[in-house]
Symmetry: C2
Subunit: 263 residues, 2 copies
C-alpha cells in the first residue's frame, strides 16, 4: 500500500515544500496509525508555515516548559487567534501537545522536525558568513528564507564544506542531523564578577544593530576578555576584551552575551 499523498491529482510537477498538502497527509497518517499498517514513516515536508511554528515553539519552550501562546504569536508574527488555530492543527498532527490557555509543547516528532529546521538555519548562517562573506549581522534574515528551500542533499554538502561545524556565527549550537543536540553550559555575562576571565561563546540576539555593536566592541564569539567591574545596582558591567578598549554594558545587553568562564 502506497501512502503517498498526491498533492494535486493530475499535476505533473513535484510541488514539494511550499505546495505540499500537509493536512491531507494528516488524514492518511491517522489512517495508517489506526490500521497499524506502517511503522512510522517519517513526516513528509511540512509547509513553510508549519516549519516556522515548530521552530519558534522549540525556541520558546527551552527547558521542558510550555511555550506561551502569546509569545508564539509574536514570534511567528501572527495574531493570537491565528496561533491558536495553527497550534490546534499541529496538535492534531501529533507534532505538539496543546494545553488550552496554558501553552504548547512539541512532541518528539515535532521536536525532530524543529531541530531539522534549526540545523538548516544555522548551517546556512555559517555558510553565508564563511563561504560567501556576508556580515554576521545580516545572515539571520537571509537564513530565515533559505532554511525552507534547501534540500537535505545540499545541506549535507554545505555541512561537509564547512567541516561539520558545531556552532553558527552567533555561537548557537548546530543540531546534528540525527540524535540529541549537545548542551552547552554557558554563563550569562551578567553573572560574571570582577577579575573573572572568560571567552564569549554565544550572542543570543539576532538583531542586526546589536550584532554590529558587539562586533565593533570586539565581543564576538571566541573573544577573550576580563571583567573589570560589575554592579547590579548600577545595572552595568564593564569588560575588557583582550587588546581592546573596555566596554560597559547594561544588564539587558549583558544578558544576551553568554560566556565560557575560565576554570
Amino acid at each position: 500500500m502506497n501512502v503517498k499523498t498526491p498533492p494535486h491529482p493530475g499535476s505533473k510537477k513535484d510541488v514539494s515544500r511550499q505546495g505540499g498538502c500537509f493536512h491531507k497527509y494528516l488524514f492518511s497518517k491517522i489512517l495508517r496509525q489506526t490500521l497499524s499498517l506502517v511503522p512510522s514513516p517519517s513526516y513528509p515536508m511540512p509547509s513553510v508555515t508549519v516549519e516556522n511554528y515548530l521552530k519558534q515553539i522549540y525556541l520558546l519552550q527551552q527547558g521542558g516548559e510550555l511555550a506561551p501562546m502569546g509569545g508564539l504569536a509574536v514570534a511567528v508574527g501572527v495574531t493570537p487567534g491565528t496561533a491558536t488555530s495553527m497550534v490546534k492543527t499541529l496538535a492534531d498532527a501529533n507534532l505538539a501537545d496543546y494545553a488550552p490557555r496554558a501553552g504548547v509543547r512539541l512532541t518528539e516528532a515535532g521536536t525532530r522536525l524543529a531541530l531539522q529546521v534549526l540545523r538548516r538555519h544555522r548551517l546556512i548562517e555559517l555558510f553565508l558568513v564563511q563561504t560567501l562573506g556576508l556580515d554576521w549581522s545580516e545572515v539571520h534574515d537571509e537564513a530565515e528564507e533559505l532554511e525552507h528551500a534547501i534540500s537535505d542533499k545540499v545541506l549535507e554538502k554545505i555541512d561537509a564544506l564547512l567541516g561539520h561545524p558545531d556552532t553558527d556565527p552567533h555561537g548557537d549550537p548546530i543540531p546534528p542531523s540525527t540524535g540529541k543536540p549537545r548542551q552547552q553550559k554557558l554563563t550569562p555575562l551578567t553573572e560574571c564578577t570582577p577579575d573573572m576571565a572568560g571567552e564569549v561563546a554565544r550572542v543570543t540576539d539576532q538583531a542586526a544593530e546589536f550584532l554590529q555593536f558587539v562586533d565593533r566592541q570586539g565581543l564576538t564569539p571566541g573573544a577573550q576578555f576580563t571583567v573589570e567591574s560589575q554592579s547590579p545596582t548600577a545595572d552595568a558591567i564593564t569588560v575588557r576584551p583582550h587588546n581592546r578598549e573596555p566596554v560597559t554594558l547594561g544588564t539587558a545587553a549583558a544578558m544576551k552575551i553568554m560566556v565560557k568562564v575560565e576554570e
Copy 2:
C-alpha cells in the same frame, strides 16, 4: 506618502516573499498610477507562484510568440482553468498581455521579473555544481526551490564567487542583472551533416535521466565532436565526441543538443 503595503498590520517580522500580499500591492499600484504620485517604483516581491508563471511564460514564448495556455498549464503543473485565472491576474498586474484563446505574452515589466528568476535559477545551478559539487543532473530541481528564497545580496555574492559566469551547467545563458540577455546563435544537432565538427554548447532538457546519459556519452557542453553520419529518414545521427566512442541519437534526442559549429 509612503506606499509600503503592511503585509499584516501588527506583525513584527518581515514575512517577505511567501507572505507578501501581491494583490493588495496591485491595488496600491493602481492607486499610485491613477493619482500619478509616484513614477514607477519597481515591483515588490511577487509570490513564488507568480514567479513560476512568469518564468514559464518567458520560456514558452521564446521568439516573440504568444505562449499557449495549455503549455503553460503543463509547465507550471496546474489545470488549464487555474492557468487561465492566474494569467488574468498577471494581466491585471500589467505583467502579461493576455489574448483569450490565443495565448499570453509578458509585458516589459513581466519580462524583467522573469529574467531575474531565470538568473537566480541558473546561477544557483552553476553554484551547486561548481562550489558544492552536486551532479549536473540533480541541480535543476534544487534550484527550482532555491530560486524563490535567495536574496539579491546573496545572489550577487555567488555571482562574484563564480567569476560572473555567463552560462549555467547546461549551457543555458545566465541573464545579466540588468539589461538584455545575450543571444547565442546555436544549431540543433539535428541540422548537422556528416564530417561537420563542432562543440556542444547547450542541452535543452533538464530531465536527470537524459542529462546522465549525455554525461556518460561525453556530450556535455564544451565537448568537441565530429558528425559521422546523419539520416533524416532513419531518424538518427551519429556523432563521435573527441577521444570517445561514437554515439547514435534519434532526432528527438539530437534536437535537445545545441551545438556551435566550427567555421
